[in-house]
Subunit: 400 residues, 2 copies
């Protein structure tokens, strides 16, 4: 925030979205409450709220009869019935697209194996799937607010360029611009398009669609082939100087440890990543077993699989300890396919971090599993659209 801006239409949008954010944090407030909370005059609040109700952002519940004389002020809530966002998850082998309501309900979705890994192939396939859901939303009478995409790489958020996506072998792909162009042939235009790192949007899914006020800082740790964190600090996605903050899979957990895909040694990924677990089980360096295969081995108490999952879980505990000391988070959310290994993996992490907490006499931050499971990145894409629209004062989101 610098000063109160003089751009009247932006100022109005800032005030409107401030009202939506306050209702999101405090469902059931009345217009008078909103005036108190924001400092806006009652008449301004009334005008803006009437617009927001008309557009589908807010709804007012019925006036409730009270025991005393008179009527209670009408409580306001986010409206989950009329507006929606499209969220997409581009992973290394699959593309998934969902339509998500303003309150985080998944309305409909579609998922396909990736037809090819080139940017053209992926963007073409993605545009086709999005086009289908946009058509369906039109039929259903849902108004769409925008399209948000999570990609497994580093994204320059002001331009939507994918700087580097190692597992897709992409470098400097103008993803947002190309997707916008490709969508035209599917009769989709005029919608804001946001692109961001997959773990970053997964964190926004937890932050924007919670059933209560999310603690801040909020860290969402993504566990799969790669290991990374999406971090929310002071009500905004935290990206760092170049947008690469949260690359915690390449923090060092052991000096001169195993060789990592990044070229360094002893990175967290070499202990916690799916390849590390697979290699521990099979003895084949660089091996990658499907999560379902490892689950099946664990289910029949395969000793190598149990040892591997517990070892990875222990190191996950060390990584959580380090996130704790660096960020002092209010909540850490665990997501990604490796979580499906269940107790042998997760319990080892919990017992490691509980021991650290006991050793120093501090109480642990809250640690929980992602509420969106396998959908967390696609729901996160939708959350990114909402996060950006609710923060019109942030110049990072102007170029969508």
């Amino acid at each position: 925030m610098t000063a109160i801006t003089g751009d009247q239409s932006l100022l109005r949008e800032i005030n409107r979205m401030a009202l939506v954010r306050v209702v999101q944090r405090h469902p059931g407030l009345s217009r008078a409450d909103l005036a108190k909370q924001t400092g806006l005059t009652k008449s301004t609040v009334s005008l803006l709220v009437q617009d927001l109700i008309g557009e589908g952002w807010l709804l007012e519940s019925d006036i409730q009869a009270t025991g005393s004389a008179g009527r209670r002020p009408t409580p306001l809530f986010l409206d989950g019935t009329r507006l929606a966002m499209i969220g997409a998850d581009v992973s290394v082998d699959t593309v998934s697209v969902l339509t998500v309501s303003l309150t985080g309900d998944v309305l409909t979705g579609v998922s396909e194996p990736l037809a090819g890994k080139s940017p053209e192939a992926v963007i073409g396939q993605l545009a086709r799937l999005i086009g289908g859901l946009v058509g369906q939303s039109r039929q259903d009478g849902r108004q769409l607010l925008g399209i948000g995409v999570g990609v497994p790489g580093a994204v320059l958020d002001t331009t939507g360029v994918v700087k580097l996506a190692p597992n897709l072998a992409w470098r400097d792909v103008p993803f947002q611009a190309d997707l916008r162009q490709e969508l035209i042939s599917h009769e989709v235009s005029g919608l804001p398009i946001q692109v961001q790192n997959d773990y970053d949007v997964a964190a926004l899914a937890e932050y924007e669609f919670g059933e209560e006020i999310a603690p801040d800082p909020l860290i969402c740790l993504g566990l799969g082939i790669g290991v990374g964190a999406g971090i929310v600090v002071r009500d905004r996605l935290f990206l760092g100087a170049q947008g690469f903050a949260g690359e915690v899979g390449h923090s060092i957990l052991q000096v001169e440890g195993p060789l990592c895909s990044c070229g360094r040694r002893g990175c967290a990924e070499t202990f916690i990543g799916l390849r590390a677990i697979s290699t521990q089980i099979s003895g084949q360096p660089g091996d990658l077993l499907p999560v379902a295969t490892i689950r099946a081995l664990l289910a029949r108490n395969d000793e190598a699989a149990l040892l591997a999952a517990r070892r990875a879980g222990h190191y996950l505990g060390v990584l959580i300890q380090n996130l704790w000391t660096y960020f002092n988070p209010g909540r850490i959310v665990l997501g990604g396919p490796t979580c499906e290994l269940g107790a042998p993996f997760l319990d080892a992490a919990t017992s490691c971090i509980e021991r650290y907490a006991a050793d120093c006499g501090l109480s642990l931050p809250e640690i929980r599993l992602s509420r969106f499971g396998g959908h967390s990145i696609a729901v996160g894409g939708a959350a990114l659209v909402k996060h950006a629209l609710l923060r019109p004062f942030d110049p990072r989101f102007r170029n969508a």
Copy 2:
């Protein structure tokens, strides 16, 4: 930022301080430039700037003759000649107090060994020293904006309570309130008092008193008996959920490594802290050699000292690597007494982090030494006062 506030005097202060922040970032702007940058009307800017000049925040340089007809708009700068802050550094063995100008110049100062370690003794001694400098400022005609104190512990910043300062054996000390009370007997009252962790305020010294716009995120790594980081994110001190963010000395660098003072094993402090270096040299666990002694050993190429400094420096490189991946900082500043060990320590850190950068083909963040050397915490106390006054919209700073 929620909405535009309706509290007119707060709104006015937010706008005034926004103007000061813009001039700080862009020295030499004219009133017309400020109107453009902030969106305020020219007449509002003129009125507020006139006040700010009158109060000593801003100064206008002389109107410069130009080759062309007419006169150039008058450039505005921060005024370093009239306002000042008092900053204090309470360390484990010393208390230092400085008077610092709005532009970061140290005007005068005093330092004494701690007379005792109880909160009463320390606060009494500190109040006496502050009282002396306040009296001197009155004689010099400098107007004081407030008092800021850096303490070696975790501070609840809304109340100024020192939650825990292990090396002083303090717990739940109402530092701000007690200092305010004690200052009355030294005829000091009515000044805002801010208290914060020592490494946090050291980061603010770098951030608020730089000669150019500081990169964001900015991390200031403090190296001494303890190891900790002060972090600035999006123009504000980053403190985490309970105010303990940046406790990086207790991140794990080696699973099951040496026992740490915190009760855990393998913390960064057990490799980089002054006790770890001393123990490596003397072979006596828990030993603590003065930095001057270690410097003297290094100066005569003592082999044990060289090995110990290089080993600690190597682990410092690992810690910097981890800070890099977690925060993607624009700049990392190294401060604290251990930096005085010089090349054997610092070069080992540089070569470690350069190797990591080369291994993964990325360019390093900027790494530099603190500009304020041994004064960085006391100057940081003064910077905290400035940081808080320039951000009147932040409720954390209201209770000073």
